[in-house]
């Protein structure tokens, strides 16, 4: 595994990912994920 001459596109896409995450947080998605994750997901465990 190497960091030598990494493709610049990888960095650009990672940066775009961060921007998208920021947009998602701004829209309230993080809170929605949290609300879902702190309650037992009945569907996920095969009961719902």
């Amino acid at each position: 595994m190497s960091f030598l001459r990494p493709p610049k596109i990888g960095f650009l896409i990672a940066a775009a990912g961060l921007l998208l995450m920021g947009l998602g947080i701004y829209r309230g998605e993080m809170s929605m994920v949290w609300q879902k994750a702190i309650n037992i997901c009945m569907e996920c465990i095969g009961i719902g």
Binding site: M32, A37, I40, M42
Partner: protein
Amino acid sequence: MDKRKNTKEWKRHGIQALWALLTNSYLAGFFYGKIYRGSLKKLCVPGLNCYSCPGALGSCPIGAMQAVIGSWNLKAAFYAAGFLMFVGALIGRFVCGWLCPFGLIQDLLHQIPFPAKLKTFPGERMLRKLKYVILVLFVILLPMFLVDVLGQGAPYFCKLICPAGTLEGGIPLVLLNRSMHSALGWLYLWKNVLLLILLFLSIFIYRPFCKYICPLGAVYSIFNPISVFRYRIDKKACTGCGTCAKVCKMNIDPAQNANHPECIRCGACKKACPAGAIH
């Protein structure tokens, strides 16, 4: 050589286990049959790790994506998609090889001696496309469009397929909560049968879930060829002996494409290369 290879494998399994323990270290959950409800769960973990696992400290990115897509108001999952883009663009399927608890379980099961380990079979290459279908259909389209009267879609991948949810969340929570026993039905049975089939297959096929089903692996595979953290082949040093392809359990030829979408960066090829041509 074999001893050296095994040492490397156990080192990787050690890191996988450490990561699994670190991200599932809410031990009280395993004693009381509860799940962690703190603010760390706002954050996603890179691997497939059910957020209903009693020990889980973070959120599964595939579960998070379905939660937002299936909501009545938000629909577009920028937060989870951005997280997957960020991780994928930096390390690609390194996550699958080193940071996924369900990958570790399959790795360990494959260590069980079995006389006929199956490396490939007719239609195997085609079957690998199934994970992309599952990603589009069960993670995106069904939660988005198959909605109830309130406009909410269920997390269909988690509900109908995810064996990690059954193993990490369903089984321990049902064992620890008697009140859940009366609610068990065909869905729980189906998910347990699916889990058992996958665990059994893992003994003689290397990582069947990762190869054919996992939508998270499908996402990261898209980023594998352009990820920052990647393999490089020294073309001058490579003798074309084919050793790397022989040791690759994901059935790819690293000498031809060291950053193939199926590569989980386990490092077996790098370790086995007699010319040291893989960096």
